[in-house]
Each structure stands twice: as structure tokens, then as C-alpha cells.
């Protein structure tokens, strides 16, 4: 029968830090016996213990700490951070794992001419790797964000008292809130494009032309150009990911978003000469293929190749398009930022 009291006290103290246990055990036990008569019956003991109530709740009363992993002070920021970091990381890891998996499969099945088998294996491998990567990325993101906030909680990072300087800027007065769906699509499309690009490089997908009776994939862009292009797109994808994450975070256009976009544009422009530096836009196979066709009077080859180290006309046109697109991007960002600051002054 005494066991009941011992077990009760034990259930309370096991939830307390070690150094508290002995003392609380002694106190609580003494108090409980005080509440009982000399030779307490089972019923009496049960009644007193019921009065004391749930050991878990009693332990909470006894414990020194607040009992929160992440207290209300930090909770809101914690959830908000999770909301934008987890999808972003899950997405990035998912896509990266997809590409890695594809490269792996190519490595294993390389040389196998059966494109149907290749495509099937690649597709199924891609999807499972992508999903697995996304899930793992999400889990990791949650873990590390949580750890970060728990540390902030324990060390009570913001000991500085709140003051007016800490107020964030108003979200843009007048600019429309961006739907999350839009931003997510904006985030994903370049990633998909990048994925396709990699696949193209890996010869998993390709542009088919019919050459002397059979169809085969002809490399349109030269290997060296392809490599540089992949680097170029990768940088762009990075900027885009950051920009779209910021958009999701802010919920609308903010000047940080604009600045990232402009930076992206500037870097892009700076990379253009690197991208187009040699006149190697097109692959020999493609040029060779074009040679096999009769073009009559319109000699397209002349426009592709360069004479005396000048950029071929087509290369120049492509260069022009890229530059123009980037200028437009920068222009739009600038316009939005200017309009934003005007609206803010008026508000």
C-alpha cells in the first residue's frame, strides 16, 4: 500500500532535473504523510493522492524552467521562418537530387543505345530521387530551424529591450500582394528548365533530326558552349531562387526583391561576354547536318559561321536577345522600385 505513495512521488520527481529530485522527494513524501492519519487505509491514501492531482501538473509547478521549448516570445517568428525556408530547401534539394540521380543512371546505363529504356529508368529514378530529396530536405530544414530557435530561446538572444527602431517597414503600400502560387511557379520553372538543360547535356533528351534514313539526336549546341550555358543558367537559377523566396517571405514586391533582381541582371550581363566569347554556339554535328540539306540560294551556313574571328550573325542575334531580355528585367525591377518609393512618400 505504501507503494502507492512512493510511486506517486516517483512519478513527480522523475520529471524534474536530477539535482532537484532528492529534496522534492523528501518534502513531498513528508507532506503527504502529514495529510494522512496514523494508519491510513487504501481509500484514504487514494483520496489524498487524488487531491494532489496529476503528477505531471505537479511537476510543472515544482520545476524552475518555463517548460517551453520555444516560448510564445519566439513562436511566431519560428513558424514564419519555417513557412518560407522549408519549401525553399525542399525544392532545391529535391531538384538537386533529381539531377544527381539522372547523372548516376546515365553513368550506369551509359552507352546503352536503347533510348526508351533509358528514358523510362531515368524518369522513374528521377521522380523517386526528387521526392526523397525533397522530403529529406524538408526534414533537415525543420530540424535546423528548430534547433536555431531553441538556442535563441535558451540564450534569450534578444536581451535588448524592444524599442521603436525595431519596427519593420510597412509592407508596400499600394502594391498588390503577390499570390504565393505565382511566386512558387516562378521559383519552379527555372529549376525545371535547368533540369531539362542538364538532361539535354546528358543526351537523355535531345532534338531529333532525320539523317539519311534514320532519326538520331543531333547536338545542336556545342559542348563548350553548353557547359558555359549551364553555368550561366545555374547562376541565374540561384538568383531566381533567392528572389522568389524573398517574394514568398514578403508576400509582395519589396525593394529587396527589386535589388536582387537588378543584381541578377547585372551579373547576367557581365556573364554574357563569357557566354558568347567564342563563336562556338553551334555544334559541329548540327552544322554538318545543315550542310546535308539543300538550302538553295539562302546559304544559312554563312550566317552561322564567322569569318575572321567575327561573331557569326546568328550568334550575334542570340547574344542580342539575351542582352535585351536582361535589360528589360533590370528595367522592370527599377520601375517597380521607383514606383514603390513614390507610393511610400505619398502614403
Amino acid at each position: 500500500m505504501d507503494q502507492l505513495i512512493e510511486r506517486y512521488v516517483y512519478d513527480v520527481i522523475r520529471r524534474l532535473p536530477e539535482k532537484e529530485r532528492e529534496e522534492v522527494k523528501a518534502e513531498l513524501t513528508a507532506n503527504i504523510y502529514d495529510m494522512l492519519s496514523e494508519e491510513p487505509g487504501q481509500e484514504e491514501i487514494e483520496k489524498v493522492l487524488a487531491e494532489l492531482g496529476d503528477p505531471a501538473k505537479l511537476a510543472v509547478q515544482y520545476s524552475q524552467n518555463t517548460g517551453y521549448l520555444i516560448s510564445p516570445a519566439f513562436y511566431f517568428d519560428y513558424i514564419r521562418t519555417l513557412k518560407w525556408i522549408v519549401p525553399m530547401i525542399a525544392l532545391i534539394v529535391g531538384v538537386v537530387m533529381m539531377c544527381v540521380k539522372v547523372a548516376e543512371i546515365i553513368g550506369m546505363l551509359g552507352g546503352n543505345e536503347n533510348t526508351a529504356l533509358l528514358a523510362k529508368t531515368v524518369t522513374s529514378g528521377m521522380i523517386s530521387a526528387g521526392i526523397g530529396g525533397a522530403v529529406e530536405g524538408a526534414v533537415q530544414a525543420v530540424i535546423w530551424v528548430t534547433i536555431g530557435f531553441v538556442i535563441a530561446e535558451k540564450t534569450q538572444v534578444s536581451k535588448e529591450a524592444w524599442n521603436l527602431k525595431k519596427l519593420p517597414e510597412m509592407p508596400d503600400v499600394g502594391s498588390k500582394p503577390m499570390s504565393i502560387a505565382d511566386s512558387i511557379v516562378e521559383l519552379i520553372l527555372p529549376l525545371v528548365f535547368f533540369g531539362i538543360l542538364i538532361l539535354w547535356k546528358m543526351d537523355v533528351i535531345g532534338i531529333f533530326f532525320s539523317i539519311s534514313g534514320g532519326t538520331s539526336a543531333v547536338h545542336v549546341l556545342s559542348d563548350s558552349f553548353m557547359n558555359r550555358f549551364i553555368v550561366f543558367v545555374f547562376v541565374g537559377v540561384l538568383f531566381n531562387t533567392v528572389k522568389c523566396s524573398l517574394q514568398i517571405y514578403y508576400g509582395r514586391f519589396d525593394k529587396t526583391v527589386g535589388m536582387v533582381q537588378i543584381l541578377d541582371g547585372i551579373v547576367g550581363l557581365a556573364m554574357l561576354p563569357y557566354l558568347f566569347r567564342a563563336n562556338d554556339l553551334f555544334h559541329e554535328e548540327f552544322i554538318g547536318f545543315l550542310r546535308t540539306k539543300e538550302w538553295g540560294e539562302f546559304d544559312i551556313l554563312r550566317y552561322l559561321n564567322s569569318q575572321n574571328g567575327e561573331m557569326g550573325t546568328v550568334t550575334a542575334i542570340v547574344f542580342g536577345f539575351f542582352a535585351l531580355a536582361i535589360f528589360i528585367e533590370i528595367g522592370v525591377a527599377l520601375y517597380k522600385m521607383i514606383r514603390l518609393s513614390i507610393e511610400r512618400k505619398e502614403a
Partner: protein, 112 residues
């Protein structure tokens, strides 16, 4: 939450603030834990054992109470008594209690 539960939570809030003052006041003379509970309840203080015991421990940890074990009887019993720091705190709390009491009475008396 039902209406009764809602009111009960406000009432509990109101009571909770006064417990420390009540305990300190009683402990101007030494008491065992359970005996103190009975004394307070006799005086009309609504308090449970699972609130008082941890409260006593906390007040002692904060230096407002002193404690000792009475080993004179067959089983050891812990008793508490107010410390010097506790006496100061008690005076402060008592002043504040009177102040609050006056303010509330004045507010409630006001013709609306």
C-alpha cells in the same frame, strides 16, 4: 469554455496574485507544510496542496523563507518560517495590497 469555466479562470487569476502575500503573512510564525495549508484554508483562502507545496519551495529558493527539518518525531517533517528578506517583501506586498484595494474600491464606487 463554458461561462462558469470562464468566470472561474478570472477568479483563479485574481486569487493567484494574493497567495504569496497570504503565505508570507502566515509564515511569520513557523508552520509545517500541511498545517499551513489547513490554517490558510480555515481563514478562507482558496488554495490546494498542489499549489502551496511548490509555492513554498519556490519562495525558499528565492530567499523569502527559511526551512528546517524537525527530526524530533518518528518521521522527519519540514517546516518553514519567514526570513528577513521575506519580512521586507511582506511589507511591500501588504502596502501594494492596500493600494490596490483602495483603487478598486474607488473605481467600483464611481457613479457611471
Amino acid at each position: 469554455m463554458s461561462k462558469e469555466e470562464q468566470y472561474q479562470s478570472y477568479i483563479t487569476e485574481l486569487r493567484r496574485g494574493s497567495l504569496t502575500l497570504a503565505a508570507l503573512s502566515c509564515l511569520r510564525s513557523p508552520h509545517y507544510g500541511y498545517a499551513l495549508l489547513q490554517v490558510m484554508q480555515e481563514k478562507g483562502i482558496e488554495i490546494e496542496a498542489n499549489t502551496l507545496y511548490p509555492l513554498l519551495r519556490r519562495l525558499e529558493a528565492q530567499g523569502l523563507l527559511n526551512s528546517d527539518w524537525d527530526t524530533s518525531e518518528s518521521r522527519p517533517r519540514k517546516y518553514y518560517i519567514i526570513s528577513d528578506m521575506g519580512k521586507e517583501a511582506y511589507q511591500e506586498l501588504r502596502k501594494e495590497w492596500n493600494h490596490i484595494h483602495e483603487s478598486i474600491e474607488e473605481i467600483c464606487r464611481e457613479e457611471l
